[in-house]
């Protein structure tokens, strides 16, 4: 039987969800037997591949590059999973939306006011979106694993259930936020 092609993606987030993913510890070995990791921040693959079965996306959509990437992910993935609160609802990443949706204000604060040297905003990086978006504000999301971060055993449970062909009910199993 062909292995399930799994991808994990890190958009605008703290990487805590990936840490939690890695916290599956020895269960990762078990998982590794069932999947082929085709794209991930922990693997050096440049382009998002085609024909992916499951993609776990951590983080919210914060800039233009991520917006494009997410659209590509959607196109190339059978099951897209929002991993963690930033992907699910924006969470801390989206807090900047409260600042009048002003990109300039955010950049000014981060790169000028709070910087001690080289006080200017970067220019040769992807442009920030006016508003940070949760995944489901951009594309259709097939499954949500909330939590900040979602506990390792929840991630493990969900993946194993999905690999067995079941859609696990989450009521009461996760903690919102």
């Amino acid at each position: 039987m062909a292995k399930v092609r799994l991808a994990t993606v890190w958009l605008s987030g703290c990487s805590g969800c990936h840490m939690s993913f890695l916290d599956q510890d020895e269960k990762l070995l078990e998982l590794a037997g069932k999947i082929e990791l085709v794209y991930s921040p922990i693997a050096d693959i440049k382009d998002f591949p085609e024909n992916v079965d499951i993609t776990l996306v951590e983080g919210a959509v914060g800039n233009e590059e991520q917006l494009e990437l997410l659209k590509k992910i959607r196109k190339n993935t059978k099951m897209l999973i929002a991993l963690g609160d930033c992907a699910v609802n924006g969470n801390v990443t989206a807090l900047r939306n409260s600042l009048n949706n002003s990109v300039e204000e955010v950049l000014e604060r981060a790169y000028v006011e709070n910087a001690t040297i080289k006080q200017n905003a970067p220019t040769n990086v992807p442009r920030l979106l006016k508003r940070v978006l949760a995944l489901n504000e951009v594309v259709k999301v097939d499954f949500y694993i909330p939590g900040c971060p979602p506990p390792a055993n929840l991630i493990n449970y969900v993946l194993n259930e999905l690999l067995e062909g079941r859609v696990p009910p989450l009521e009461g199993r996760f903690k919102y936020g």
Binding site: L129, K130, L133, E137, K140
Partner: protein, 550 residues
């Protein structure tokens, strides 16, 4: 006032009326005032003097004649000659030709007979024909006789029975049987009891209650007094919007006049019945028209609805049994008592008797205030009374029931106007607004507009209305800017169901109606907006959208 005094005053007034050969009624309601009605009024008075016909021609300042499209409107009796767009100059000519020479000025007459043909004026029986500021005018046409009859010849239970038999339903929108409501209050224990007349008409494009109060305030006062007698109340409040200055002023003077004649106050008509009325002004909130919100507002608290039960009939104003009726409901009462419940029940439809006032507006040739028997079809209202949509345009939809009324398409135009049929089709009787739309209106944009109104007017107490409506508005707004998918339509429907079912009061429960009915009858427009980014009316996509873009 003694019973005999009413009779002799009525007789005297009627004779005085008869002594004039002509009576010129100049409409000075909120519809005609901005067009210079008061100048027209004084021009008529001057002209009558100038031509020396003061003795045979009486010039009266009246309320609404009902034809707002031809403001300022003037009605000359006998013969009910209706002059349109009268100016001070034309007033002089009319006096010269019509009064002095006895030749009506045909070129200035409003020739549209179809507008009145299907109307039946019970509530607006005196509108445009009496001076609302002269209580004598009201008495001359039989005013306060019903109160006299109730107090001297009927028991409270007898009055309730008569109202119940008439089949009258509440005209405020929900259509609860008036007689039944009265009986609940009459049987409730607690003292004192209160009567409240609801004149907090806040719907955009609706002006029926305001016009009634401006044209015939004593009909409301008399109705209230009779209601108070029937349920055992001694104190009444008229809750009126402060945005209706002319109605407020008219009611204030009418109450004073009734009081000074002894028609309000202690021992009315020398019976044991005492009753007085106070005006209470509402400030700005649409939701204050909801009956439990009115209670809060009159008590001096924030106008927020509360859940029922307990119903106001058991625990209303300051926890006492309270009757709340719309002013239109109340204005029906004197006629029912004088002409009998059988007569009233013979008008209108089988389980929906009497008439209903509607503010007919929108893309219609003859807008105005109309009163029609229940059971009349929408087609008759829009095309016969309203004269259809402007030339070259195509009828698209008609909204019945104010901002939270549904939009009905052409194929439903033969629907009879009654509470049940309207509700079944997704509209409501509501406060009596009929807005006609032609092909220049986009249904998505229209649904968005009315949803936005309800968002602004939500009191904020319950979640479905406060948050749900706002989210609904945002989704609809997205559709008009090129955002959204077909899946969102399903979401809209689910959200609407939640708002409709789970909201605390009538505002939230009916607010999704415009969206739901446009989705039901004009779904293709939504689909065209979403898939083709096309708006057949050319209203949408004026500003670029795009997800997250700058």
């Amino acid at each position: 006032m003694k019973p005999d005094e009413l009779r002799s005053l009525a007789q005297k007034e009627a004779e005085a009326r008869k002594s004039y050969r002509y009576r010129i009624n100049v409409c000075c309601s909120s519809g005609c005032m901005p067009f210079g009605a008061l100048k027209v009024l004084s021009a008529f008075k001057d002209a009558v003097k100038e031509f020396g016909v003061e003795g045979e021609c009486y010039v009266a300042r009246t309320g609404c004649i009902g034809t707002c499209s031809i403001a300022p409107a003037v009605l000359i009796e006998p013969g009910d000659y209706l002059y349109q767009n009268v100016t001070p100059d034309r007033a002089k000519e009319i006096v010269k030709e019509h009064i002095v020479n006895g030749r009506p000025v045909k070129s200035m007459l409003y020739g549209n007979e179809a507008y009145f043909k299907k109307q039946l004026r019970i509530v607006l029986r005196n509108a445009g024909k009496i001076d609302p500021l002269r209580i004598e005018d009201y008495i001359a046409v039989g005013g306060y006789y019903a109160l006299l009859k109730a107090l001297t010849r009927m028991t409270p239970e007898g009055v309730i029975e008569e109202v119940a038999l008439s089949g009258l339903k509440g005209r405020g929108g929900a259509g609860f049987l008036t007689g039944l409501k009265w009986r609940y209050v009459a049987r409730a224990t607690g003292s004192p009891k209160y009567v409240i007349a609801n004149l907090d008409e806040g719907d955009p494009g609706v002006f029926a209650n305001r016009t009634l109060a401006e044209a015939d305030p004593h009909a409301i006062i008399e109705g209230m007094a009779i209601a108070a007698y029937a349920v055992g109340a001694s104190k009444g409040y008229i809750y009126v919007r402060s945005e209706y200055p002319l109605a407020v002023e008219t009611l204030k003077k009418a109450i004073e006049a009734a009081r000074s004649m002894g028609l309000l106050g202690e021992k009315i008509f020398e019976t044991a019945f005492s009753f007085d009325i106070e005006l209470r002004l509402g400030a700005g909130a649409f939701v204050a028209g909801e009956e439990t919100a009115i209670l809060a507002s009159i008590e001096g608290r924030r106008a927020m609805p509360r859940p029922r039960p307990p119903y106001p009939a058991q625990s209303g104003l300051w926890g006492k049994p309270t009757l709340i009726n719309n002013v239109e409901t109340l204005a029906n009462i004197p006629v029912i008592l004088l002409k009998g419940s059988e007569w009233f029940a013979s008008i209108g439809a089988k389980n929906c008797t009497g008439t209903k006032c509607f503010s007919l507006t929108g893309k219609v040739n003859n807008p105005g205030l109309i009163e029609v028997p229940m059971g009349i079809t929408l087609r008759e209202v829009v095309f016969e009374i309203g004269g259809g949509v402007p030339p070259g345009r195509r009828f698209k939809a008609v909204q019945v029931g104010g901002p939270s009324g549904g939009f009905l398409p052409e194929q439903l135009l033969d629907l009879p106007i009654d509470y049940e049929s309207l509700t079944k089709a997704g509209a409501i009787m509501g406060s009596g607004g009929i807005v006609v739309l032609d092909d220049t209106s986009c249904m998505v944009d229209t649904a968005k507009f009315f949803t936005e109104f309800c968002v602004d007017e939500s009191c904020g107490k319950c979640v479905p209305c406060r948050v749900g409506l706002y989210k609904l508005y945002k989704i609809l707004d997205g559709f008009t800017r090129g955002e959204g998918s077909l899946e969102d339509l399903q979401k809209v429907e689910e959200l609407c169901e939640f708002i409709k079912e789970a909201s605390l009061c009538g505002l939230g429960q009916t607010a999704p109606n415009p969206t739901l009915t446009t989705l039901r009858y004009f779904r293709d427009e939504y689909v065209a907006h979403i898939l083709e980014k096309k708006c057949s009316a050319g209203k949408c996509f004026k500003n670029g959208g795009g997800v997250g873009g700058e």
